[in-house]
C-alpha cells in the first residue's frame, strides 16, 4: 500500500479509534438516561459510567479516586485550584516546562497571594530533583510536575522527585503532589500509588478517545474542593449531568490502551528513531531538541512519541504548511510572524538560540503510525527543506 498521508500531530490530538466512536454514538443514541434518575434508564447510564470509571482507573494502575472532567485542562484546574492550601500553605512549586494549563493557573494563584517557584530545566528540558529539594519550604503545600513535556517529549524523573518528596514528608508536614500526565498517558506506565502522587491529570483525546473528556485521579484523603457547584455529581467534586457518551468512549479508549500495553510504546519508539535518524541523516544542519534518542538500553529521559526538530533559518510555520501540502501534518509552537518574534516558552526555558526557536517543528506519533509513513515523512520533509532553502537563498 502506498502512503500518501501521515498524521504526525498526535500530541495535539489523536484520531479516535473506531471502537470509541461506536461506543460514543451508541451510548448517545440508546443509553440516554440521566445517571441520577431512579428508573432503569438512569441505572443503565450509571452502569456505563461505572464501567468507564473502572477502565480508566485500571489504565492508571489505581482502584478508585477517578473524577471525570471536561478534559485535561479542567482536571488540572480542579487539582491546582481545588486543593486547599491549609492554614500555613502559601507556596507552590512547578517546573518551568509545564503546559500553559498549569502555568496560567499558577499565575492566578500568584494573583491570590500564593508564591510560585518555577524550577529551571537543563538544555534537554529536564529538572534536577535536587533543585526541588532546595526550593521546598515549610509553607510549600503543592508541587506540580509535568510527566512528559508536550513540546519536546522530555520525561521528568518522577521516581527521583518522589524520593525527594518522601524525604520531605518524612521529616516535616504534608506536601501534595500533582502530576500532569496528559502526554505521558498511554506512552509510559503511570504508577501514582507507588510514587506517592496525590493528584494526576489525564485527557481522553490524546489517547484516541473523544474530546471534551478527561479525568483527575485523587488519592484518598486529598482535601479537594469543587470548582463547580450544583447537583453534586462525581462525589460532589464535579457537578453537572455527566457526559455519559464521552465518558463511555473514554472508557473504551482506556481499555484499548491496556490491551496495547508496552508493545505500543516500543513500536512508537522504533518509529521515532527511524524518523529522527532519517531526517538528521539527510539534513545534517537539523537539530533534535530535547533529550537524545534512546541508546541501546533505552533512554528513560525521552518519551517514545515526540520528536521536536529545528531547521535553523527556516520558519516553523512555513514548514508546517509546506509539509501539509505534501500530506504530512505536524505542529509548531513558535509563531512565524516577523513582527511578533515570540517562540515557545518551553524551548526558551531550555535555552535554545533564536534560529532554533523559530525553526522548530514537532512530530508526534501514535501506535497507529507505520514504518512506511515514517519513510514517507522523511523523504517529504527532506524535499520540502531543500526547496525552501533554495527559495530563501540558503
Amino acid at each position: 500500500m502506498t502512503v500518501s498521508e501521515a498524521y504526525l500531530d498526535n500530541s495535539a490530538t489523536t484520531r479516535p479509534y473506531p471502537e470509541v466512536t461506536r461506543a460514543v454514538a451508541e451510548t448517545m443514541a440508546e443509553n440516554y438516561g440521566n445517571p441520577s434518575s431512579l428508573h432503569r434508564k438512569g441505572v443503565a447510564a450509571e452502569r456505563a459510567l461505572t464501567q468507564a470509571r473502572e477502565r480508566v482507573a485500571a489504565s492508571l494502575n489505581v482502584t478508585g479516586g477517578i473524577i471525570f472532567t471536561g478534559g485535561g485542562t479542567e482536571a488540572i484546574n480542579l487539582a491546582l485550584k481545588g486543593l486547599a492550601p491549609g492554614k500555613r500553605g502559601r507556596h507552590v512549586i512547578a517546573t518551568s516546562v509545564e503546559h500553559p494549563a498549569v502555568l496560567n493557573v499558577c499565575e492566578q494563584l500568584r494573583a491570590q497571594g500564593i508564591e510560585v517557584t518555577l524550577l529551571p530545566v537543563n538544555q534537554t528540558g529536564i529538572v534536577d530533583p535536587e533543585q526541588l529539594r532546595a526550593q521546598l519550604r515549610d509553607d510549600t503545600y503543592l508541587v506540580s510536575t509535568i510527566h512528559v513535556n508536550n513540546e519536546v517529549g522530555a520525561v521528568q524523573p518522577l521516581a527521583d522527585i518522589a524520593a525527594v518528596l518522601a524525604d520531605w514528608r518524612r521529616d516535616r508536614r504534608r506536601v501534595f503532589w500533582h502530576v500532569d500526565a496528559v502526554q505521558a498517558y498511554g506512552k509510559l506506565a503511570l504508577r501514582p500509588r507507588e510514587l506517592g502522587v496525590d493528584l494526576l491529570s489525564v485527557s481522553a483525546h490524546k489517547v484516541h478517545g473523544p474530546k471534551g473528556v478527561g479525568a483527575l485521579y485523587a488519592a484518598p484523603q486529598t482535601p479537594l474542593r469543587p470548582l463547580l457547584s450544583g447537583g453534586g455529581q462525581e462525589g460532589g467534586l464535579r457537578s453537572g449531568t455527566e457526559n455519559v457518551p464521552g465518558i463511555a468512549g473514554f472508557g473504551v479508549a482506556a481499555a484499548l490502551l491496556r490491551r496495547e500495553g508496552v508493545e505500543a510504546a516500543e513500536k512508537m519508539r522504533r518509529l521515532k528513531k527511524q524518523l529522527v535518524e532519517g531526517i538528521l541523516a539527510g539534513a545534517p544542519e537539523a537539530v533534535l531538541n530535547g533529550p537524545p534518542l534512546a541508546d541501546g538500553n533505552g533512554n528513560p529521559d525521552s518519551a517514545p512519541h515526540i520528536a521536536n526538530i529545528s531547521f535553523p533559518g527556516l520558519p516553523g510555520e512555513v514548514l508546517v504548511h509546506a509539509l501539509e501540502q505534501e500530506g504530512i501534518f505536524v505542529s509548531t509552537g513558535a509563531a512565524c510572524s516577523s513582527r511578533k518574534k515570540t517562540g515557545s516558552d518551553v524551548l526558551k526555558a531550555m535555552g535554545l538560540s533564536a534560529p532554533l526557536l523559530a525553526g522548530a517543528i514537532r512530530f508526534s506519533l501514535a501506535p497507529v503510525n507505520t514504518a512506511a509513513e515514517m519513510d514517507f515523512a522523511v523523504a517529504k520533509t527532506l524535499a520540502v527543506v531543500r526547496e525552501l532553502r533554495r527559495l530563501y537563498g540558503q
Binding site: 508546517v320 504548511h321 501539509e324 509563531a335 512565524c336 510572524s337 511578533k340 527559495l391
Partner: protein, 396 residues
C-alpha cells in the same frame, strides 16, 4: 402589532433625476438587511422611507445602522388623525427620548415641538399644533422646559393623509450612499487592518465591492485565508454578501524571489497583484481597484512606489485611506468591527520574503527591467486559472 420607523436619507435626496433609482436601491438594501429577521415592509412617503415591522426594535435599529445611505432612523408612532391620540403619543415619545438622554436625575429636560401639516384638511395648523402639543407636554411631564433653539429633545408631529406620525429622538445612521448605486470595484483585501477599512469606505460611497485575496500557500496558511473570509463576512454585514476571489500567488512569489533583485521584490509583487486584480476586474465588470494604501506607511507606499505600482493598470485606483493616520484607521476599524479579526496573529508569512532594505524610490522603468526575467503572461494566466471564487454571506 408592527412598529413603524421613519428612515431619513440625506445626499440621495439631491440626486435629481436619478433619485428614484437611488431610493429603490436603498429600499432593496433595507429589505435585504432585514431579511430573515422577521416581517418588514418598506415604503416611500414624501422624501423618506417608512419601515413597518414586527422585528425586535433594538435588533432592527442595529441592522439599519449598517445600511449605507441612511442618515437617521426614527422609531415612530403611527396614530389616527385625532388630537387626543397625538397628545398621548407625543408624551410617550417624549418619555422614551428623555430616558435615552441619560441625564442625571432631577436635571430639567428641554424640548421643542415641531409640527408639519401636509394634510390641510386637519383642523389645526402647524403653529397651533406646536402650541397645543407643547402645552400638553408641559402639563403632563414634570421638569420639562421649552428651548426652541437648542432642545434636548425635538418632538416631531407630522400630519399626513391617513395618519399622524409622532417621533422624538433621532438615531443616527451611517450615512453615505446605498451600496450598488455607484457601480462595482475590486478590493485588494489582505488580512491586515487597512484594506477592510478601505473596502468599507468605498462601500459607504455606494460602491459594490468584490474582494481579491492573494494566497501564497504554504507561505501563508489556511488559517490566514480563514481570517480573510471572516473579514469578508464582517464587511458583508453592510451589504449582505461579498464575492471573494482567492488568487493563487505562490508561483509568482517564488519566481520573484528567485529571479529578481531583492530590494525590488515588494514593488514587483504589488505590480503583479495589480495586474491580476485588473484582469479579474475586467471579467467582473468592475470599474476601479480599491486598496488600503496610505502614503508613507511602509516602503511600498511612498509616492514613488505607488506610482511605480499602479502604472501597470489603466483602471482608477481608489485609496480611501491615502491620507489618514494609522491611529485614525485603527479607530475606524474598531468602529466597523474588523479590528479584532485583523490583528489575529496568523501574520502572513510573505513578510518572510521581505527584503531587509526595500527600495523606497523604485521607478517603473527599473521594475519593468526586472520583470524581463519573468514569464509575465504565463504566470498571470496560471494564477488566474487557479483562482477560486466564493460568495461570503453576512452572519445571519
Amino acid at each position: 402589532m408592527d412598529n413603524t420607523y421613519l428612515i431619513r436619507y440625506g445626499e440621495i435626496g439631491l440626486k435629481g433625476k436619478n433619485r428614484p433609482l437611488f431610493e429603490r436601491r436603498l429600499m432593496d438594501n433595507i429589505s435585504r438587511a432585514l431579511n430573515g429577521l422577521g416581517r418588514a415592509r418598506v415604503s416611500r412617503v414624501y422624501g423618506r422611507l417608512v419601515v413597518e415591522s414586527d422585528i425586535d426594535s433594538a435588533l432592527l435599529v442595529e441592522s439599519l445602522r449598517k445600511v449605507f445611505g441612511i442618515v437617521w432612523v426614527n422609531p415612530t408612532l403611527r396614530l389616527p388623525l385625532e388630537l387626543e391620540a397625538i397628545y398621548s403619543g407625543a408624551l410617550r415619545a417624549m418619555r422614551d427620548a428623555a430616558a435615552g438622554l441619560r441625564l442625571p436625575p432631577g436635571e430639567p429636560v428641554t424640548f421643542k415641538v415641531e409640527a408639519r401639516r401636509s394634510n390641510k384638511s386637519f383642523p389645526q395648523t402647524s403653529p397651533e399644533l406646536n402650541a397645543l402639543v407643547g402645552g400638553y407636554l408641559l402639563d403632563h411631564y414634570p421638569g420639562l422646559r421649552v428651548d426652541v433653539h437648542n432642545p434636548d429633545v425635538l418632538v416631531r408631529v407630522e400630519i399626513r393623509e391617513k395618519n399622524a406620525f409622532v417621533y422624538a429622538g433621532d438615531v443616527p445612521g451611517i450615512g453615505g450612499l446605498p451600496v450598488g448605486s455607484s457601480g462595482r470595484a475590486l478590493l485588494l483585501l489582505s488580512g491586515g487592518i487597512d484594506s477592510p477599512v478601505a473596502g468599507w469606505m468605498a462601500m459607504k460611497r455606494g460602491i459594490e465591492i468584490e474582494a481579491v485575496h492573494f494566497h501564497s500557500f504554504p507561505f501563508t496558511g489556511e488559517k490566514s485565508l480563514e481570517k480573510v473570509r471572516e473579514l469578508c463576512r464582517l464587511l458583508a454585514g453592510y451589504t449582505a454578501r461579498i464575492r471573494l476571489h482567492v488568487i493563487h500567488f505562490t508561483e509568482i512569489q517564488k519566481e520573484i524571489q528567485l529571479r529578481c533583485p531583492e530590494e525590488l521584490r515588494v514593488t514587483l509583487m504589488r505590480r503583479m497583484m495589480f495586474r491580476l486584480a485588473a484582469k479579474v476586474a475586467g471579467q467582473r465588470g468592475a470599474l476601479a481597484l480599491v486598496t488600503g494604501e496610505c502614503v508613507g506607511q511602509v516602503a511600498s507606499q511612498t509616492l514613488e512606489s505607488l506610482s511605480a505600482i499602479s502604472v501597470v493598470t489603466d483602471l482608477p485606483v481608489l485609496r480611501p485611506l491615502v491620507c489618514m493616520d494609522k491611529e485614525e484607521i485603527i479607530e475606524r476599524a474598531q468602529l466597523i468591527g474588523t479590528f479584532a479579526t485583523s490583528i489575529l496573529p496568523y501574520e502572513d508569512c510573505c513578510t518572510l520574503f521581505l527584503p531587509r532594505h526595500p527600495a523606497t524610490r523604485p521607478t517603473a522603468a527599473e521594475a519593468a527591467r526586472a520583470e524581463e526575467q519573468l514569464a509575465l503572461e504565463e504566470l498571470l494566466s496560471e494564477s488566474l486559472e487557479k483562482t477560486v471564487t466564493e460568495d461570503i454571506k453576512a452572519r445571519g
